[in-house]
Amino acid sequence: MSTTTVPPGTRGDVEGGIGRTVDRPDGTPKVSGGFAFSSDLHHDRMLWGKALRSPHPHARIRSIDTSKAAAMPGVHCVLTADDVPGNPNHGLEHTDQPVFAADVVRFHGEAIAAVAAEHPEQALRAIRAIEVDYEILEPLTDPEAALDADPIHPDGNLFRHLPLRHGDPDATGEVSVEGTYEVGMQDQAFLGPESGMAIPTEDGGVELLISTQWLHVDHGQVAACLDLPPEKVHLALAGVGGAFGAREDVSLQVHVCLLALATGRPVKIQYSREESFHGHVHRHPARMWFRHTATADGDLVKLEARLLLDGGAYASTSPAVLANAVCFAGGPYVFPNAVVDGWAVRTNNPPCGAMRGFGVVQACFGHESQMDKLADALGMDPVELRLRNAMKPGDPLLTGQIITGTAPVREVIEACIAHPLPGEPGPDDPLMTLPGGAGLTAERRDVRRGTGIAVSIKNLMYSEGFDDFSTARCRLELSPDGQPVATVQCAAAEVGQGFVTLAQQIARSELHVERVLLGPADTSIGSAGSTSASRQTWMSGGAVQIACRAVREELLARAAGREGEPLAGSRRVRFDLRGSDVVDLDSGATFPVVDLLAEGPIDLTREHHHAPTDPLDADGQGNAHVSFAFAAHRAVVDVDPELGLVRVVQIATGQDVGKALNPRAVTGQLEGGIAQGLGLAVMEEIVVDDGRVRNPSFTDYLIPTALDVAPVVATLIEQPEPGAPFGAKGVGEPPTISSTPAIVSAIRAATGRDLTRVPVRPQDICL
């Protein structure tokens, strides 16, 4: 397998090219307030749309009376399930979620109707005037009861059961530890609320400007629900204010199009924060049992685990999330034997789906808690236990798949723990830096410090045989001033991660042009797949790369043609792009790119597929994944045991990145991901009480502020990944995964508590 990362003709030293810290093309408008997010969309004739949502987690709808709402001033239409002309359902893997609840509502916040009005206040009052007669039903809220309960949906209560059997299920060892762990429901809590605008088109179709993670999968679902041919539905990306998984599923897409088509007017929907909490999927709550068995020397012998994910009312990506939890239930360690079973079930809790880390977050909290427990039982240093069992290239996963790429597990651990520990707390430290912060509740003498470590593995790209690809177009031409300019187009959703920067860097490196423009991200070009699974650098970066290379080949062909012969056979290697010229390496003849482009623009589109994967077999075995990224985190915390308050003092990390294509952007991903991991560890949980969401606001659902996050010290491990464009691995998810268990491990060290649940709440520490 080739390990070449900078192939001939691709320059690694181009100003603004790969490997450089390059400014974002959207940076200036984003700091000056001029960048148009989806909530900034405005049309002089637009109406405001708003959805009515169920106050009950489970109820039968006896009747809906919209007549009062429809008669209110400024109201243009009121729509219900009866007004959906096409498929009444949507969904990412299974189309099981109604556009509007028709006969039954299955979760608190499910949409029932939508209105369009001149003013948002009129829309709000109109939905309050819709009269719904509910027959309240008992909600199914315990995921353990779901399998035996009456089905709450025609498709049943089981989204997926995934068994995994690896090696000898009866293998034994001298030391076993077991534990049961829980993960609460975390929210992605992006800042930019769901929003978009639909504009009716003259051909009876609709244009939808939308903040999403995957335009094309929205496109298919929207067209089907509207019963419109795909060519009459056009989607374009509107500015995305963060995503983290919550924009993979359809939220307002169908509603806003229905309202626009019904009224013949542009319609805008913009969720409030409360509606945002109800309107997108969350991270799956998990209940997990593990038993780890090892020899007395600390060699892992067997993993046993049973994992239960609460998928909530509709399927979303639950089957894929479960596969990740099961496949990586052991973490980045070698187990010769494993017996794992996972279930994802339907309940009347809020629907759960994708969030950064995607199933691995839950598993990692369990397996890393277990590794600490096992080290304790063995009387072994927890770092030593991890190093002793760390995966390396050539080792098998629990699925039997052999790791053929890089696997620097030892390296990320060693780099992580090599960072100096922060200084001990001193009498002169500001009181604000004690746990409790500005509350000034802690006594310095009571504060206890703890340190913990955790390590993770994350699969990159889609798994289990999915045909994962991205499409990119590159056009090279002369601008009016006679200089070459490249335009790159790709439907990859820029959600903040910096793909737009990377696309420009790649084009500069491949084509040696300074000026690279970005075409619109929309459905006029083929799919780029989702901005998720840490996949866009690899998938769409790769698509941009091969599109640019195809353009470069055409430049060489034009040069060869000038010499009267085609670019074929041995002549192919005679030509190369050197700076702003194509050079005939044999004759020394040079052909300026500007001359070659005088023949006309070169405009080519290419699709990039990753190496195919296989489905898992009946025993959960198979080559189901493409590539893996590893990270280690060490947390230092101060704890006030009396009030149960925690301050995270420092996070150190080593992360396997393959190759940092934009080092400053990688740092931003690490720091941002760690903050979300910190949130899950000690702050963030959607509180669901008998099916009802109790805290759908930023007043009651707290995400880390600048006072809550800790300084991050990071080392990037750069071992180019074979087969990856430029050798780069996705970097977005790993920081979120093992930071959480590292922090909890540190709190255990400080308090001596078991702490089997995240987020760790004050009462878990002090009561």
């Binding site: 307030g33 900034d40 800042l191 930019g192 931003g668 996050v709």
Partner: protein, 178 residues
């Protein structure tokens, strides 16, 4: 439910924003300053992430005080002096003679330090950081953290943002700022 529907022509007033007077010819009295800026005056730089004063994305200065514009009634601000993200480049961080549209030193530092990802929180942070550094030019890191703790960011973990603030302070101390 006898509440009358909002009457679009309820009120006319003027707002002074970034040293210019803007007429609001007819607006429902219940509209927030944020709504009027964004939807009636075509100034969407101030953002709407929570609509209850928790996230700071809508931060503006009203008579020199940092406020969440989602929690201020627009009509109440009629006699005030409002400065938004669209106006910071001509405020404290503007270099002498800088042309219209040039970035302030805070905006430039956010770009230089990689503080921008999705960018939704950034306009509010830009306004907050200007407010802080106008009041406390030599704020230490803890003071900076506390000052921007009312501005939620979900992408960055604040690391590059804190670097950007330090860069502004260093540049101003070196004579490169105002």
């Amino acid at each position: 439910m006898t509440t009358p529907p909002p009457t679009p022509d309820a009120l006319a007033y003027d707002l002074t924003i970034n040293d210019r007077t803007h007429s609001v010819p007819s607006a429902w009295l219940g509209e927030s300053l944020l709504y009027v800026l964004r939807e009636r005056l075509g100034m969407p730089g101030s953002k709407n992430a929570c609509d209850q004063g928790e996230c700071g994305s809508c931060s503006v200065q009203l008579d020199g005080q940092l406020v969440c514009s989602c929690c201020v009634l627009a009509a109440d601000a009629a006699d005030g002096d409002i400065r938004t993200v669209e106006g910071v480049a001509s405020g404290s961080g503007r270099r002498d003679g800088a042309p219209e549209g040039e970035l302030s030193d805070v905006q430039q530092a956010f770009l230089d330090e990689g503080a921008v990802q999705c960018g939704f929180c950034i306009p509010g942070l830009i306004v907050s950081v200007h407010d802080l550094l106008d009041r406390v030019p030599d704020a230490d890191e803890l003071t900076v953290r506390e000052a921007i703790s009312g501005n939620l960011c979900r992408c960055t973990g604040y690391g590059r943002i804190l670097e950007a603030v330090a860069t502004v302070q260093s540049r101003r101390a070196g004579g490169g700022g105002s």
